[in-house]
Amino acid sequence: MKANRHCCRWTVLFILSMLFSPVHCCVNAVENKRDIKVEISNESLIATSQEKVVKLYGAGGVKGLESYQSGVLFGNSGYILTSWSTVLDVAKVRVVTFDGRRLDATMVGMDPQNELAVLKVDDAGLVGFELSETTAARPGQRVFAISNLFGIAAGNESCSAQKGVIMATTPLTTRRGKIKSLYQGKVYVLDVVTNNPGASGGALIDLQGRLIGMIGKEIRDEQAGIWLNYALPLDVVKMSVDRVLSGNTSVADSEIKAVAQPHRVSDLGVTLIPDVLSKTPPYIDQVRDGSTAQKSGLQTNDLILLLNDQRVDSRKALEKMLASINRADSFYVLVQRGQELMRIHVRP
């Protein structure tokens, strides 16, 4: 019942926004005074920003899952931020830059809470957005979205540009259960259909060409059938990026030191799904009754994302990382269970 009300509210808001538009034209004109000055430079502003958006190609291409998405270059060291998705479930993500260069990216790390990942390419020449200052955006503000939606652009073709207005700044949590999203934080709701296949990870910029957000994944209200168009605000993005860059990263294989008496998956009472890919996601297939895993609260179909805040990108990685923890020590895992993230303390 409660859920239903939310859905209705959405619908009503949408319709309201449409019906009242003509009346408020003049408000728009005032609000957009500043726009007129920059309108002349829209082309160059968008052109410059397009050079900072990349096309990403990875896993997918089956069952309605796209194998492509967008990414945003930041800094000058080849860092790319993007949505954390199944597209990234490959050893090397293919990056195509604005000038058609094809580069391989490695995963620096990811932040499951914000569904955001950071990649890196070894190419010194790439110039990205500056993340140092976080630019807050307000409702009513005009924005441009730049992404490779529908994978329209290929090679050196430019990513697509769209115009829009931030309709609201609001948390996604109220839509819990209605709109499937792991991310539950603050979003900019947009009045333009930005969140199309392949658009996630694209850039939301203001009329000065500053990055103000990252386009999120496609989410839809199952009941009303409405797709939500939104972006993660820059402060959220920046928090994730900082988190990833400051430690929540995957540890290099060489740095993992095995201990004499480590934890083992089987000893914990866990069976993982068979290791058939180069990077098989560490899904729990079965949990033995009465085992450590069961007592700690792990369940079948949990996907293990982090182990002691370090990224677990595959079944092999999990086994290796467990091997570095003494059997007597407890540890934390972050798992994805359905649409929820859970932090679980595993105590032997």
Binding site: N28, I36, G100, F150, I152, A153
Partner: protein, 633 residues
């Protein structure tokens, strides 16, 4: 069911609102942060001026926008009027369900009877002609080459058949992408070099215009990316560039089923990222111009080529039979030349496409579907080239709901039966969408030529004498119904007046110039249709000349002649005689005319084969009274 309804309302609201939903967020923030007092609306003069400019542009643009309906007022798409005499550009997929006649509504509130002239099934274009006025409001034609990402634009049209009073809907947006290539949907409707916009383009907008912010026509809206979200706009619409539309305009006005082109070779991107020839037909003009397997293509038309997509983009905007510039590099050098484009389809294939289209869209009028429904075309096609990932479809035409009288397009209420204004304006023939207009265009050219003098009063036997300038080589020829006699210095040859020419053409014989003169003579004395089947093709470019020339193809006997005339005065500037597709045709250029006895007479003629000029012929004596010797009365 409820969800579908809601969706329908929203989609309509979306169209209505366009860009100006900023106020909503103001309301929203007011809710969140307590009351906010808005400043009194006192916009700066610059803002007012910009708004006024936009209002004016949209007003003018709306005048030229057309709502296309079936003869029963059913169905519905859009179009744009491009000339005062009522020619309308629209999509092939809009016009095809209606057969050859339909009705076009303008925002003066009137419906005009209209008839199809030409169709381009591959490029999804069609031209219609409205009748009933000589002063139809026409759109200003813009330059789609100047369109850049980030520019503002607006689409005008008839989305969801909202234009019940024939006032079109305007949607405002941004140019999202340019020079997009969209793979054919099924076997046809290939969108090359198209413009991508986030201006809302919805069912019913098909065939309607996309304007730049100055109100100049830059494209014809026709296709969207929909994928899983049903058939309302999701921020991605595509418009055929007005450059392509203008390239095809006269071919479409010819009343033919128009075809696109192939180069006669295919390309691939090699390991170094170069676009190289991967296969070439030995019968192609490209092969005769020296292009071989492995050569790198650097430039086509007026643009550089760096990727295969770019090459396809450039090629897609040209009609078949055009001769366009190309730059390529082989092992030794970079070569600039021109190649003739071949037809993409066999005539029978085009016929199949049109039949298929008609069958697919029967029964007519199609039933209305709720906007949330998936289209049959929506299913992801698996035969698409890997990695293209571009699931888009032509916008379906929006059907009217017959049960809702308010949705019916207005009728021109004529209680008493009137004479059909389209009477006599339709003729059927294979390969034509409306043969009537082919005759119409030929007559236009012949009317222009009437001022060149009364050539029909000349005798059947002409004697032309002259020389190759500065080389002191004498040339003379006799053109009559008995034979064509050609003498150059001491060597003379004779050919039949209307057949057996190909063998001479294959040898690149200088007598080709006399053949060209003979076609010129026949055209002027007896008219093009006396020589054989004469078809007006449209307008093509000619090497070394600015602009486009009218072209007629005449199937004489064992050869075809292509006659190029200037659009302004109808003067013949070039006659090509084709033997077969293995051989370069004869090219006879008429470079100078002079007035002799009230007749515009060739003065300087040039003979070419391939890209090679053989010689110039300067005419000193042009005898048309006829010696009549040996010819009984």
């Amino acid at each position: 069911m409820e969800a579908t309804k809601t969706q329908a309302i929203i989609s309509i609201a979306l169209v209505l609102s366009g860009w100006s939903s900023a106020q909503f967020s103001t309301r929203c923030s007011a809710q969140e942060q307590g009351p906010v007092s808005l400043p009194p609306p006192q916009p700066e003069p610059g803002v007012v001026a910009a708004q006024q400019q936009r209002i004016d542009a949209m007003k003018k643009a709306s005048l030229a926008t057309v709502a296309v309906y079936g003869t029963d007022g059913q169905g519905g798409g859009s179009g744009v009027c491009i000339s005062a005499d009522g020619y309308v550009l629209t999509n092939f997929h809009v016009s095809s369900p209606f057969g050859h006649r339909m009705r076009c509504g303008l925002n003066d509130g009137k419906m005009y009877e209209s008839i199809v002239t030409g169709v381009d099934p591959t490029g999804d274009l069609a031209v219609l002609k409205m009748v009933g006025r000589e002063d139809f409001p026409a759109a200003d034609i813009g330059n789609s080459d100047d369109v850049r990402i980030g520019q503002w634009c607006f689409a005008v049209g008839n989305p969801f058949v909202l234009a019940t009073n024939l006032q079109p809907t305007v949607t405002y947006g941004l140019i999202s992408g340019v020079r997009r290539y969209q793979y054919p949907s099924g076997t046809i409707l290939e969108y090359s070099d198209c413009i991508q916009t986030d201006a809302a383009i919805n069912p019913g907008n098909s065939g309607g215009p996309l304007f730049n912010i100055r109100g100049e026509l830059i494209g014809i809206n026709g296709r969207c990316s929909f994928e899983k979200r049903g058939r309302v706009n999701v921020g991605v619409g595509y418009a055929i560039s007005v450059k392509q539309a203008m390239n095809f305009l006269w071919q479409l006005k010819s009343g033919r089923v128009v075809d696109h082109a192939t180069l006669g070779f295919t390309v691939a991107t090699d390991t170094k990222g170069k676009v190289t020839v991967s296969n070439i037909l030995e019968s192609s003009d490209a092969f005769r111009r020296g292009i071989r397997y492995g050569d790198e293509i650097l430039r086509l038309g007026d643009r550089d080529v760096a990727t295969t997509n770019q090459l396809k983009n450039i090629l897609g905007i040209f009609p078949d039979h055009w001769r366009i510039p190309i730059r390529y590099r082989n092992d030794d050098e970079t070569i600039d030349t021109f190649i003739r484009l071949q037809s993409l389809h066999l005539p029978s294939e085009l016929e199949e496409i049109i039949k298929g289209e008609a069958a697919q869209r029967q029964p007519s009028p199609p039933q209305r579907k709720p906007p949330g429904d998936k289209l049959p075309e929506d299913k992801p096609s698996e035969d698409k080239p890997a990695g293209d990932g571009k699931p888009d479809t032509p916008i379906p035409t929006q059907d009217n709901d017959p049960s809702d009288p308010s949705k019916l397009a207005p009728n021109t209420s004529n209680p008493e039966p009137k004479k059909d204004p389209l009477e006599g304006m339709y003729a059927q023939k294979r390969g034509f969408s409306n043969l009537f207009f082919n005759r119409w265009e030929q007559d236009r050219i012949l009317k222009l030529q009437a001022q060149d003098g009364k050539w029909n009063e000349t005798s059947a036997s002409w004697k032309i004498v002259g020389q190759v300038p500065r080389e002191n080589i004498a040339i003379d020829m006799n053109l009559s119904d008995e034979n064509v006699l050609f003498r150059m210095e001491d060597k003379s040859d004779t050919v039949h007046p209307r057949q057996g020419w190909p063998q001479w053409i294959k040898q690149r014989s200088p007598i080709g110039i006399a053949m060209g003169m003979r076609i010129w003579q026949e055209w002027h004395r007896r008219g093009p249709r006396s020589m054989g089947d004469a078809v007006y093709l449209g307008r093509n470019p000619v090497v070394g000349r600015e602009g486009l020339l009218d072209v007629n193809r005449i199937t004489v006997s064992d050869f075809d002649a292509m006659v190029y005339t200037a659009p302004t005065n109808g003067q013949i500037e070039l006659i090509e005689i084709l033997s077969d597709n293995q051989t370069d045709p004869v090219e006879v250029y008429f470079e100078q005319y002079q007035n002799i006895d009230g007749r515009l007479t060739p003065k300087l003629v040039r003979l070419s084969y391939g890209m090679e000029t053989k010689f110039l012929f300067s005419i000193d004596q042009f005898e048309t009274k006829g010696t009549e010797e040996g010819k009984g009365l």
